[in-house]
């Protein structure tokens, strides 16, 4: 037993690149912060619009990241965004509540739906969870299309009011969206860095072992799922009152898949991943939009290249840099 200490490498040795990697993460946060204030420097309405879309994507992707950290990849997250959007729009337009009422109702409705289905579907793991959430998202989309009295059917709901007249201007709405996104990411980050995060990580790495040290696994997963769905509903309410017009394709399986892509492209291991992914997935198609008929082909090639050469996502660039700096480092396969 005593000999073990000499025969195995100590972890600090392996992680020679620790300071470089934390510098890179810090750098990532600095880039995000710089991008966040950039629209105000440029002061162009279209940049505000794009920045707002990044904020929405960031809330969606980082809340999905919470679920992913429990080891479950949900393919119906956009459907929960839809629940928040439709509930908020209805509460404001039909019941006459102010925007805040819609925001709260949308958040609670999505969280409530998460609480209803979470205990059932979170018993499934891995690919089975992916599949059941895919089907559930598809059913919700069909409900959005068919429940015409509430959702306006396939034609959607139009004429949704802005949160306040001043927020009809993207410049001011961006402040709201940025605040919301920052708060959401901060809460997600705090959950993951707290003791709760420790046991969330444990659940992902081995559900069985974690259950047997006394962690109520299902209850913890449901709690995280409900919080994440709540954030999705929150984002949905914001989207409804920004776009002023919502329709089912905004909340379909393709959008859910986009949120997963943000996580995978950015990196599923840390919260920085989905943030980079959100920026990536909003900006890259915008770069390409001008190449009218080639845009999709270029985007597809980018997806293939990132996944083939950075299997850990864009965040994995730091490992790639580290490998260059430390020639004999261990392979960073995940």
């Amino acid at each position: 037993m005593n000999s073990t200490a000499e025969t195995v490498p100590v972890i600090s040795k392996v992680r020679l690149g620790r300071s470089t990697s934390s510098a890179l993460i810090g750098g990532g946060i600095a880039i995000v912060a710089a991008l966040a204030i950039m629209p105000y420097l440029l002061d162009e309405r279209f940049f505000y619009h794009i920045a707002i879309l990044v904020c929405f994507a960031a809330i969606g992707a980082s809340s999905l990241h919470l679920i992913i950290r429990t080891g479950h990849v949900s393919l119906c997250h956009a459907a929960f965004i839809g629940v928040g959007a439709y509930v908020s729009a209805n509460v404001v337009m039909k019941l006459g509540f102010p925007f805040v009422g819609g925001l709260v109702a949308g958040t609670l409705a999505a969280a409530g739906l998460g609480l209803m289905i979470g205990p059932v579907i979170l018993r499934l793991t891995g690919k089975y969870f992916v599949l059941i959430t895919f089907l559930f998202g598809e059913i919700l989309r069909m409900v959005f299309v068919d429940w015409q009295s509430i959702t306006g059917g396939a034609n959607g709901l139009s004429g949704i009011p802005a949160p306040a007249p001043v927020f009809a201007e993207p410049k001011y709405f961006y402040a709201l969206a940025l605040l919301a996104a920052t708060a959401c990411v901060a809460v997600c980050g705090r959950i993951l860095s707290s003791e709760t995060g420790r046991f969330v990580n444990a659940i992902r790495e081995s559900e069985q072992l974690t259950e047997c040290v006394g962690v109520p696994v299902i209850r913890t997963k449901v709690m995280i799922f409900v919080i994440a769905c709540g954030f999705a509903g929150f984002a949905g309410a914001l989207i409804a009152h920004y776009a002023r017009y919502i329709s089912p394709p905004n909340f379909g399986p393709l959008e859910s898949l986009n949120l997963v892509i943000m996580n995978v492209i950015g990196g599923m291991q840390t919260l920085v991943g989905p943030l980079l992914g959100a920026i990536f997935l909003v900006l890259v198609p915008e770069f390409l939009r001008g190449y009218v008929q080639l845009q999709h082909i270029m985007f597809g090639v980018i997806l293939i290249l990132v996944m083939a050469f950075l299997p850990a996502g864009v965040v994995g660039v730091k490992d790639w840099v580290a490998r260059r700096m430390i020639p004999h480092d261990r392979r960073g396969e995940q």
């Binding site: 420097l41 440029l42 619009h49 396939a154 034609n155 959607g156 329709s247 001008g290 845009q295 990132v306």
Partner: protein, 393 residues
Amino acid sequence: MIKISRRNALAGIAAAAAIATVSSTALAAETLRIGAIGSLSGGGTAWGLAIKRGAELAIDEVNQAGGLSVGGKNYNLELLMYDDQYTGQGGKTAAERLVFQDKVKYIVGPIGSNPVLSAMEVTTPQKVLLMSNGYTPKILDNEHKASYNFRFTLTNLEYAPSMMKWVKENLKVTKVGILVPNDAIGQSVAPPLVKLYQDNGIQTVVDYYERGSKEFSPLITRLMAAGIDGFDINFNAPGEAGLMVKQARQIGYDKLVYQMGGPSVPEIIEVAGQHSEGFISYEMFDFDAPSAQPFVKAYAAKYGKGIINSQTPAFYNATKILIEAIRRADTVDDTTKIRDAVEKLAGYDAGVYGPVRWTGKAIYGVDHQLALPFYVVEVKNGKPVTRAVLSVD
């Protein structure tokens, strides 16, 4: 890809600059840009290409004739088009970019209620002209009366009454089966259509299917069991409509198949082949008409001999009308003047549909709906043959 993310990493400014360079390809003093929005992704791609090609043909014509002279200057026209992915979100983003980033003053497209309604939220407050096509009445009938929107193809509200009269007199159906997609078009048009049939004393059996289905035999079997003597394949995308005709015949349905509205007949003939014989249809454009031949030739020269989507002439027409209005208003900036010029364009003939006539006041409160002639055709020996030419009342 690594290049892009590094660029992000180095400075956000660079990213923004890159967006700007991609979109604003050197605004030369002599270039006038016309915006376009259309779906170039997924199932709506055929329509996006129709907008793109129709507008390009109209612009080419003007440029080849030496450009457009307005206010003493001569402009070379250029089309700037963005994809809307056939969604509301995409329509809004494309409109934001055209209006605020590229400072475009007039937009042709999009097609489809979702992208039109959300693009409208951006363009109308900025007084940007939107020459679009979608089935929902809200495109013209909204809180901004005297808006900056015009519609260039007919919807069921325009053509259905005259079409119904013709169907009732000539086809003598008593019980009609209708299959519609469960999407924005289907949900907009099916209820008024059913009501119209009922008002004319004709029974209906309606069923919805999910967009993207290819197998309609079960649904048609169901309609047959209900004892229909007419099958109206209204409002389906061309491929789906063609499959419905083919599959109905294949499972032994031998009564009438027709459509009171919807896609063009050549596409249905292509998909259904010999089974399309005897099919009767509303048709928005007659590609065999002598007046259409210059357009058809120009299309084939530029895009090959494939089937021409019937929205293509509509957007060719829309672009030509827009250009003519700019010429008459004698301004490229004052969109209110240009709009007024569009409204007063009655009698102008863009070449493919005959003289312009505006309608819509009774239904939408504003005369911004182009009144087009439309046709009833029957497929004989694999060719559409015109049986009647109808017009909006």
